[in-house]
């Protein structure tokens, strides 16, 4: 055995997370140090009774829930609380997938409750969590609406082929938001790098959206993304990052930047832009001439969640067509629920024919899903994308 081999020892993921946590912060450090045992697979909490809990903790993205007129209440959440006599701790805790994952990985690895009963994560991140064994299997016997009303297109996805872990929350179309006054000329991704927009552009920290749009602008297909097409996309963006045209890479917080005027145009998600438009009619959605990205956010129950049964009921709640319609009419993302179209027509007939909520063939032709990546390619791309952001 070589000296190197002798020195080499496998380090459990638990130890990995202990160290990550130690440097990330005392609280997380304590959480990690509180673990014991040598198994690399955390064990779920045993006591998950089939009764409604007093509270259910939901982590979601901003601009992803319906609000009342005065924006002080969330009608579908309140209705759930009334129906099940529980309290929903609904927190807009997710700004981007990576940063949220950073906050839950230590307890997940340690086999401890993350504090969340529901986390809403994009396909690729949800797939990673399933691969790591960090998601609870759904007990679909508790979820009659979900079983009946999940659209067929969401069944058989490679990362959850038997629909055991994920309940899609919404489909997301990625494109561009622009201020009509200062960036009205923006029609495609490359227009973001116009000198007139110097220092007034933001891109998303979600690699698949930003790079996906860049690939489309280069004439590459994100569904066939490889290192070559990725490098070409980086090469397209990099000069505008270096010269300061790109001001920031953001998560969902691009909303504040564009509303305040710090940013005139940005890569954005279509439903967000509609909602931002309620606040400032100058901010409009631009469907990039080269096409849009498409992905889904999915509700999952992190392993060891304390209130699994209530979480399943929460998921199921949003698969009632009338609730899904109420939600979709406000957030205007693509609904994954059968029967939403008929129900939404009762609220606003025009929404039932909105292709960005119920994509038609013409829009579907413009939507592009990013390729599934091997771990090596994902590391390669994430690393270069981080470098693009100065990290």
């Amino acid at each position: 055995m070589s000296t190197e081999k002798k020195n080499e020892m496998m380090v459990s993921r638990r130890t990995v997370l202990k160290v990550g946590a130690a440097a990330a912060g005392t609280a997380a450090f304590l959480a990690a140090c509180g673990t014991s045992g040598s198994s690399t697979s955390p064990s779920p909490k045993p006591s998950q009774s089939d009764t409604i809990s007093d509270v259910v903790n939901v982590a979601n993205w901003t601009l992803y829930i319906d609000l009342s007129e005065d924006e002080l209440a969330r009608p579908t959440v309140t209705a759930f609380e009334t129906e099940y006599s529980t309290k929903v701790n609904y927190v807009e805790a997710i700004n981007d997938n990576d940063s949220f994952f950073g906050t839950i990985q230590a307890p997940l690895k340690a086999g401890e409750d993350t504090g969340w009963d529901i986390a809403t994560l994009t396909d690729w991140m949800a797939a990673r969590i399933i691969r790591l064994g960090w998601a609870e299997k759904l007990k679909t016997a508790h979820m009659s609406n979900f079983t009946a009303n999940l659209l067929d297109v969401y069944k058989g996805r490679s990362f959850d082929p038997s629909v055991e872990y994920l309940a899609p929350w919404a489909g997301i179309v990625g494109g561009i938001a622009a201020n009509k006054t200062t960036a009205g000329f923006v029609k495609g991704f490359k227009d973001l790098f116009d000198p007139r927009l110097k220092g007034k552009v933001s891109l998303l920290t979600e690699m698949r959206d930003t790079i996906g749009l860049a690939m489309l602008a280069n004439g590459d297909d994100p569904a066939k993304a490889d290192r070559d097409s990725f490098d070409r996309a980086i090469a397209l963006i990099e000069p505008s990052v270096s010269d300061g045209t790109v001001r920031a890479f953001t998560g969902n917080d691009y909303k504040e930047l564009i509303v305040k005027g710090d940013v005139a145009a940005c890569v954005a998600w279509r439903g967000d832009v509609v909602q931002i438009g309620y606040e400032d009619a100058n901010i409009v959605w631009v469907t990039p001439t080269d096409g849009c990205t498409f992905s889904s956010d999915n509700m999952l129950i992190p392993l060891g969640a304390a209130h699994k049964y209530t979480a399943e009921k929460w998921m199921d709640w949003y698969y009632k067509p009338e609730i899904a319609a109420q939600l979709t009419a406000y957030v205007q993302y693509v609904s994954p629920v059968k029967g939403t179209k008929e129900e939404i027509a009762k609220i606003d007939e025009s929404l039932a024919s909105d292709p960005f909520i119920f994509p038609d063939a013409a829009l579907e032709a413009q939507l592009n899903v990013f390729a599934g990546l091997s771990e090596d390619d994902e590391i390669y791309m994430n690393d270069a994308f981080s470098a693009l952001q100065g990290n």
């Binding site: 190197e4 020195n7 459990s12 130890t15 130690a22 440097a23 300061g244 710090d262 690393d383 990290n391």
Partner: protein, 290 residues
């Protein structure tokens, strides 16, 4: 117990030090050792990590790749320290000698920002300094500033944020040093025909130096590792080493590089403090902090 300690008086200091030593071991030494260990791993989150001394190559590789961010951190921390010093000394002097019955109020004002969260303070500045915010917006509308002028997403905003947030750490030690000075020494200097400037140069300033040294350390050290100001007030061009460490740990799950960078940052700061203390004398530092 008391009788036992009377028989062994040498144990008393150790007993008194025990809680602090336990704290340091648990929250400094142990994490530092783990961090050192992690820096020598290779692998990925999904496949697991393996330890090998051969992975020490991570250190030069990380230093080479992130040298810009390291240098930028040193530069921004140094400039912020100087900015804090220049602003804090007159303020501390005024509070110590000229504030009269307002002394307590002024001290309260200095520390008042600490009553709100660090993050909220930075976010507030993000709003205040916005391109069309209530500070720059009116100046642009009356033509005093060009339309494309901005403060946010520039090095100035980051240095300003760091200086603002760590300012009290400079004011308070200097104030303590100034307040401890026996004013009869200044009176004596004046009796010996020293003017106010000369008395300040020969009496006040030298005796206040321990506070300046302590304040400089208290500002420089956290400023070196700061990432919040760069994240919220800066841009891609103003990334600091703290941003890189945060990103490598929590976004890229690249624990070895993140740990190596953290360790180098910690070692670098310790070395700088050691040299600083050796050059200036630890007595000065202790009296400044005390």
């Amino acid at each position: 117990m008391i009788a036992f300690l009377r028989r062994r008086p040498g144990l008393l200091p150790l007993l008194l030090l025990a809680p602090a030593i336990a704290w340091l071991v648990a929250f400094y030494v142990y994490p530092a050792i783990q961090m050192l260990q992690a820096s020598l791993w290779s692998g990925t989150l999904e496949s697991g990590f393996a330890f090998s001394w051969a992975n020490a190559a991570t250190y030069p590789a990380a230093l080479d790749r992130y040298s810009d961010q390291f240098l930028r951190s040193i530069l921004y921390a140094a400039v912020s320290t100087v900015v804090c010093l220049v602003l804090a000394f007159p303020l501390a002097y005024t509070i110590a000698y000229r504030a009269g019955r307002f002394r307590t109020l002024l001290l309260f004002i200095v520390i008042a920002p600490f009553f709100t969260s660090f993050l909220l303070r930075v976010l507030a500045w993000k709003t205040v300094l916005g391109d069309d915010g209530f500070l720059l917006g009116p100046l642009k509308s009356i033509g005093l500033l060009p339309e494309d002028f901005r403060v946010l997403a520039t090095p100035i905003a980051v240095i300003f944020g760091i200086s603002y947030n760590f300012f009290p750490f400079m004011v308070l030690p200097i104030y303590v040093s100034l307040e401890k000075i026996d004013r009869r020494l200044v009176e004596a200097a004046k009796d010996l025909y020293a003017g106010p400037v000369r008395a300040f140069q020969r009496i006040t300033l030298p005796l206040a130096l321990p506070g300046v040294f302590a304040g400089s350390l208290l500002v420089f050290i956290p400023a070196m590792g700061d990432f919040v100001n760069a994240e919220l007030l800066g841009s891609v061009q103003t990334r600091l080493i703290g941003n890189v460490i945060q990103s490598r740990f929590l976004v890229n799950n690249d624990y070895p590089t993140a740990a190596a960078l953290s360790f180098m940052l910690m070692a670098g700061i310790l070395a700088a403090v050691f040299i600083y203390a050796r050059v200036l004398g630890t007595d000065e530092l202790e009296s400044g902090i005390g």
